[in-house]
């Protein structure tokens, strides 16, 4: 009986492992990008969406070719059964090889498809960032209003001041959206990004405060424009709440801060300095 050499068996094991790793990475990339597709793909125009779709197709193709390559590997181990003699003499069996035409072709197709999928995804990401910038994410020292899972016009309507049309409200949202630095009495500085998008039952989103002392339990941040000169940013926690009423004047912004402490039962008012800043700027 002709046994397959240990070296050849190792070659098969490594080949299968390599194929499996590529399948795992391709699957992970698909799952990862599909999960964030609402943030990235939904925000881009038509042609660019196709780039993302093509990337997914290539990655999916890579997974499928990987499956076929694994099957071809298994087939290699048993490919010569028909050559065996009726009495079980297996000397007629050809040596299996990972470089057989079927395995080689499918393996290359898997690798090629994966490379194209990765390249397409990178191209999509690059163009998307170049056109639209990074999706709003929390940066160090920046309180960011998380973007919505999807557009919830109803929630925007629910939170806008009475008598304001949806169009006017959206216009005001666009007017004030951006990043601001709030300097409170005592020197505490908060960098806050006001996003255009709504989330939840009101125009709010939750964020983790990385800035200076503020009760951290159950942080809830929201903002709402009042009119062409005013907007309000508020924070609510389990043991306190804060509201920043901001006015846009001729020389810039001014804010009145109101802080309620449920632990101490106090309400404090103070002025705050507000500056509109570049969202990409680093905390100073």
């Amino acid at each position: 009986m002709t046994s397959v050499s240990e070296r050849r068996i190792k070659a098969f094991e490594y080949a299968a492992e390599s194929i499996k790793q590529l399948i795992a990475i391709a699957t992970g990339l698909i799952a990862f990008t599909v999960t964030f597709s609402k943030d990235f793909v939904s925000a881009v125009g038509g042609p660019l969406k196709w780039v993302a779709a093509i990337g997914w197709l290539f990655l999916l193709g890579s997974v499928c070719f990987g499956l076929l390559a694994l099957q071809a590997l298994a087939g290699q181990m048993d490919q010569t059964a028909e050559n065996a003699t009726p009495d079980g003499d297996e000397t007629a069996w050809a040596a299996p090889s990972i470089w057989s035409s079927a395995v080689g072709l499918l393996w290359k197709l898997q690798q090629g498809s994966f490379a194209l999928g990765l390249l397409t995804t990178i191209i999509f990401g690059g163009i998307s960032i170049a056109k639209h910038g990074f999706a709003p994410v929390e940066k160090a020292g920046l309180v960011s209003f998380t973007p919505p899972a999807d557009t919830q016009a109803a929630s925007v309507v629910a939170s806008r001041p009475p008598g304001t049309t949806a169009q006017a409200h959206d216009s005001l949202v666009g007017r004030f959206a951006g990043c601001y630095r709030f300097t409170l009495v005592g020197g505490s500085v908060y960098r806050i990004e006001l996003l255009r998008s709504a989330m939840g039952a009101a125009r709010e989103a939750r964020a983790m405060v990385k800035g200076p002392p503020i009760p951290t339990a159950g942080n809830r941040w929201r903002w709402v424009p009042i009119d062409a000169r005013h907007f309000v940013v508020s924070w609510g926690g389990i043991d306190g709440a804060m509201e920043l009423a901001v006015e846009r004047g001729g020389r810039g912004y001014l804010a009145m801060t109101t802080f309620w402490s449920s632990n101490q039962g106090t309400t404090d008012h103070s002025a705050a300095r507000v500056e509109k800043i570049d969202c990409r700027s680093r905390p100073s």
């Binding site: 795992a24 990475i25 699957t27 992970g28 999960t35 964030f36 099957q71 298994a74 983790m208």
Partner: protein
């Protein structure tokens, strides 16, 4: 065809590795990670889906993607609550919120 059965099982495990990789990467993207018990619970749900009988490949993929989305929601929730870890309780809360997930990958909501 008998030869192909273990091959298919291996493929599923490779894809499962991919989904696990995606879950951890997604949590990291949101700035949180998993507690040991939460990740054990998540992987248990994933394995339960994989081992379910009479489930088509499409249903299996849908279920795994649903679990990845669940992780994303849990990561956002944990991050919003100022937590560094996704705990089993956050995972269960989000799972209840996302119900109905396929009944064969989890205890009833």
């Amino acid at each position: 065809m008998g030869v192909q059965i273990p091959v298919v099982r291996r493929l599923q495990s490779s894809m499962m590795d991919g989904f696990r990789f995606a879950c951890i990467a997604i949590a990291s993207t949101e700035g949180v990670t998993f507690s040991t018990s939460a990740i054990a619970e998540l992987f248990d749900m994933m394995d339960r889906a994989e081992l379910s009988e009479n489930v088509s490949a499409d249903e299996l993929l849908d279920a795994q993607l649903a679990l990845v989305r669940l992780v994303h929601e849990a990561a956002i929730t944990a991050q919003s609550e100022g937590e560094l870890y996704i705990s089993p309780s956050i995972l269960r809360d989000v799972r209840r919120k996302l119900c109905p997930l396929p009944p064969w990958i989890q205890p009833p909501c």
